[in-house]
Amino acid sequence: MTYVGLVLISHSSKIAEGVKELIRQVVKDVPIETAGGTEENGIGTSIDKIQAAISKVDQGRGVLLFYDLGSAKMNAEMAIEMSGLENVRLIEAPIVEGAYVAAVEAGMGKELDEVEKRVKASF
């Protein structure tokens, strides 16, 4: 079975890892990758990490990207453009609470549009 994939982009690798561990308690099968911190694992984001994460979680059913603060958003948008993939979307939702909802919805086999809609509806 395939799922919508999730990418967790945070300035802090701890936040991204923590969100993943929170979700993994509940949702085992949905592909989730973190893109936390800069290349040197400092505070910041890395477009290369984001791109790598996108390609790892893409199972053909689309990818949702969550981010924490504004500058991560710009890197995420660039990564999406550079990926050239369809159905890779950045979502405006709280990274912890939003990704949790998305993971549960994706785990129920929902389509990208539906997952996105459910996340939006939760806030």
């Binding site: 477009i47 500058s71 660039m78």
Partner: protein, 204 residues
């Protein structure tokens, strides 16, 4: 005035020199109304960009700009990475295929860079960002052509004018009215980009 790949590489080298010299200063601008990493971000990005372009053998300025863009995008790690990265990428696309850029072609490249920054950051002038240096400088070049001292003065004035603005984009926006009284960090690094250009064009 004409710009070939060699001059383009010199522009990047000169920009890097200024950024390395002013790394602490740039960080100090980012500290009171940001996260205090702008100097670090820019110095890391431009150091790598210079290493990359010095090692290369480029037929056109566009090829130089493309490698600069990709390096900044990968290495900077903060908002300035995708912003300067997009600027150089758009400049590369707008000048693609031309071995030598005349004044009008190069200014077109800078216009594309400015548009790229504005699209990427969804910012306009008056929001206390690097756009407040890029836009007046590009307009000045459109009106006046390349004149190193005028260019330098315009860039410096624009940078200083960000001091009185209230930030509505980027990290500084969280500080709202408290952001007044500080020069924007990205405006300062953009000033160095144009100061380096003025020097390279002025033959220094």
């Amino acid at each position: 005035m004409e710009i070939n790949a060699t001059l383009a590489v010199q522009w990047i080298e000169k920009t890097n020199e200024k950024i390395q010299e002013n790394k602490e200063y740039l960080t100090s601008l980012d500290r009171p109304i940001g996260d205090g990493d702008h100097g670090l971000n820019m110095s890391r990005g431009f150091k790598e960009a210079v290493e990359k372009v010095k090692a290369g053998n480029y037929p056109t300025p566009a090829d130089v700009f493309k490698d600069v863009a990709m390096t900044l995008v990968s290495k900077v790690g903060g908002a300035s990475g995708p912003l300067f990265g997009t600027a150089f990428l758009k400049m590369s696309v707008a000048t693609a295929g031309q071995q030598v850029l005349n004044e009008s072609a190069f200014v077109k490249g800078l216009e594309a860079a400015l548009d790229g920054i504005k699209q990427r950051g969804k910012a306009t002038t008056g929001e206390k960002t690097m756009v407040d240096v890029w836009e007046p400088v590009v307009e000045w070049l459109q009106d006046n052509g390349f004149e190193p001292e005028g260019l330098l003065a315009e860039a410096e004035g624009a940078m200083n004018a960000t001091k009185n603005l209230t930030a509505t984009k980027g990290r500084a926006a969280y500080f709202k009215e408290k952001s007044v009284g500080h020069i924007d960090a990205g405006a300062a690094s953009s000033y160095y980009v144009f100061a380096a250009l003025a020097e390279v064009l002025g033959g220094k």
